[in-house]
């Protein structure tokens, strides 16, 4: 029983990471109706930027803020420069372009920063909050930051006019343009926001998994599973989905299959959700007009 509780809490900590990246996926989906396969690599690259800034002697929180701003600008630039020619292209092209971005960011990070693992500092104290606690301060910090980020994203999409305009631009670009929404700017803002949220996720993950160009390759699969499970249209869903995926992954890894085939669990979740309930737990069912 003790072991099981430990696995559940470890699962919660992992789940918060998947949720953080899952929120970035939800933002891109809300803003563009595309799934961004490069999200994990973009987050990894942002984390390298933060690492460079910290190494240059800038205090952690200043580097943190600067990375978020730089990632936002980078995300906007990617949308404007790389994805804009594909505004009216079929889904296949957009998917392949995001795979291309994945490759470019992965190799660029390897090129600039080498493939050796680097340690990344945590802003939270290394000591456990109490001797009997199941979570370290860093893990509690991840859950808190992810929760705060989620609340902000949710409020942004639900309560602000800009959020509403972004959802409208993704849902029906032509009719939003006719209503006076600058659709191109909305898409770019969506990419910028997702890149910024991804940067936060990357900086939270890096102290745990260490920084290297392939650090996100497993995490992105779980985050996709989390976002789908929660319903890719709903940020809260991504959070709940992240926790469920994290706990299921840990318990199944510990008791059923062993840790070597954990990715197969993510695959099972993805395929299961898509087949049984494509809208996810909390998502809106999409209706296709013929």
């Amino acid at each position: 029983m003790e072991g099981l509780i430990q696995q559940v809490f470890a699962g919660l900590a992992n789940g918060a990471i998947y949720a953080a990246l899952g929120i970035a996926l939800v933002i891109i989906y809300q803003a563009t109706h595309h799934i961004n396969f490069a999200q994990g690599e973009m987050a990894m690259f942002s984390t390298y930027i933060a690492w460079s800034l910290i190494n240059a002697g800038i205090p952690y929180w200043w580097a943190f803020a600067a990375t978020i701003v730089l990632s936002f600008v980078g995300g906007v630039a990617i949308q404007r420069i790389v994805l804009r020619p594909f505004d009216h292209a079929p889904a296949l092209s957009v998917i392949l372009v995001s795979v291309g971005l994945l490759l470019v960011f992965n190799s660029l990070a390897g090129w600039l920063f080498t493939y050796t693992m680097k340690s990344f500092p945590s802003p939270f104290p290394a000591t456990a909050p109490s001797p009997t606690s199941y979570l370290s301060m860093h893990e509690i910090g991840i859950i808190a930051v992810t929760g705060a980020m989620l609340a902000m994203v949710y409020a942004f999409f639900r309560l602000t006019p800009l959020g509403l305009a972004m959802r409208a631009a993704a849902e029906n670009p032509v009719s939003s343009a006719l209503s006076g929404i600058n659709v191109g700017r909305m898409l770019a803002t969506g990419w910028g926001l997702a890149a910024a949220v991804g940067a936060v996720a990357g900086m939270l993950v890096a102290p745990i998994v260490f920084l290297d160009p392939n650090m996100m390759s497993g995490i992105i699969i779980y985050s996709l599973a989390a976002a789908l499970l929660g319903g890719i249209t709903n940020p809260w869903g991504a959070m709940v989905g992240g926790f469920i995926v994290g706990i299921v992954e840990n318990i199944a890894g510990a008791y059923l299959l062993g840790t070597e085939v954990k990715l197969a669990i993510a695959l099972a979740i993805i395929v299961g959700v898509l087949l049984v309930k494509p809208a996810g737990l909390f998502g809106q069912r999409s209706v296709k007009r013929v």
């Binding site: 390897g110 390759s217 070597e260 085939v261």
Partner: protein, 349 residues
């Protein structure tokens, strides 16, 4: 408008020429391919064999993605299944290597159907996502302890290089090359007939508009499942051949990037073209060798950039460029003797 007419006429003439040129070019290429092992080193023969192997795999993916519009960014998984089937049959059950290709094809066909059926409910992004996860998870399954008895775990399986039949005076490398060449020609001939037949047109119709295709009486589900199974079969055969040629399979040789290579090859070679498979395969064989000199990361950077650039600038890939400009080049070359004769006639009194 008036000024353009003669030019257009000459292009029409080249089109009428093009069938004869096509057959001629094909015969020439096959002759060159047959004679190739006599003139190059064993390493080059090996590369040429791998080019053919990858061309089969890329053609398989193109049948699914290019002709049927179903996106798979995890086709390396079928390549791995074909390779492992062949390797296990040869190593564990002692089958002769040439007999192991058919079971590999059959197993990939079955797995293709098994995955093709859930894929019916997934479109666009979601199918890409599911195949992405499939390709990421497979190496872990291959490494799994419970299957180590057959798969060899992390170490993988090493095979012996097959000898050429005693009656033939060729080296083992050349023999494998000829075997692969024969299978390649057979598969491309079958594939071409398939794509230009009833099923192929149905697949293309579904790609272009599945609702209209259904209204025309095409059984969309059946057709898409068959497309998936055929595509998996082609890639699986390529995997089996690849295992025999390389003489080694291991989980790490079938990581996510082999799936990426195939999709890059499809885009660079030409989505929805048959000849594109060869250009794409040549690209993923020779480009990494060349780019490795610059940096370890360079091949993947070039893959990524080529993927984006080709989609933006040349969505038809290399095949579209060749099919557009080759007739013009051939036409100008075919006119050279006449031009030469008129030139001579003018110069000589």
């Amino acid at each position: 408008m008036f000024a353009l007419t003669p030019a257009r006429k000459s292009i029409d003439q080249t089109r009428s020429l093009s069938l004869r040129w096509h057959v001629g070019a094909l015969v020439c290429i096959i002759c060159i391919a047959l004679l190739l092992p006599m003139f190059v080193t064993n390493y080059r023969i090996f590369q040429a064999t791998m080019l053919l192997v990858y061309a089969i795999a890329v053609f398989g993916l193109n049948i699914l993605t290019g002709y049927n519009g179903q996106i798979s960014i995890g086709h390396g998984a079928f390549y791995a299944i074909g390779a492992y089937t062949a390797a296990i049959l040869i190593d564990y059950y002692g089958w002769p290597y040439w007999l192991s290709i058919a079971p590999a094809a059959f197993i990939c066909f079955c797995v293709g159907i098994l995955i093709g059926i859930p894929a019916l409910r997934l479109e666009g992004h979601y199918l890409a996502l599911a195949t992405f996860a499939f390709a990421m998870a497979l190496p872990q399954v291959l490494r799994y302890k419970a299957f180590e008895h057959w798969t060899g775990g992390v170490q993988g399986i090493s095979l012996l290089k097959p000898e050429a039949p005693a009656a033939l005076p060729v080296s083992p490398d050349a023999w494998l090359y000829y075997l692969t060449l024969a299978i390649t020609l057979l598969l491309f001939w079958l594939g071409r007939n398939l794509l230009h037949g009833r099923l192929g047109y149905a697949m293309t119709a579904i790609r272009d508009n599945s609702i209209a295709a259904a209204a025309m009486g095409i059984n969309v589900s059946l057709c898409k499942t068959i497309a998936f199974a055929i595509s998996a079969t082609y890639t699986g055969i390529a995997g089996a051949l690849g295992a025999i040629v390389v003489q080694f399979v291991a989980p790490d040789s079938f990581n996510f990037f082999i799936s990426i290579s195939f999709i890059v090859a499809v885009v660079v070679g030409g989505i929805g073209t048959i000849s594109g498979a060869f250009y794409g395969a040549a690209f993923i064989i020779f480009m990494p060798n060349w780019a490795d000199h610059i940096s370890k990361a360079a091949p993947w950077a070039v893959y990524g950039l080529c993927l984006i650039l080709f989609l933006a600038v040349m969505p038809g890939g290399i095949a579209s460029i060749i099919s557009r400009y080759l007739p013009i080049v051939i036409h100008s070359i075919s006119r050279l003797p006449i031009a030469f004769r008129t030139l001579v006639a003018r110069i000589s009194p």
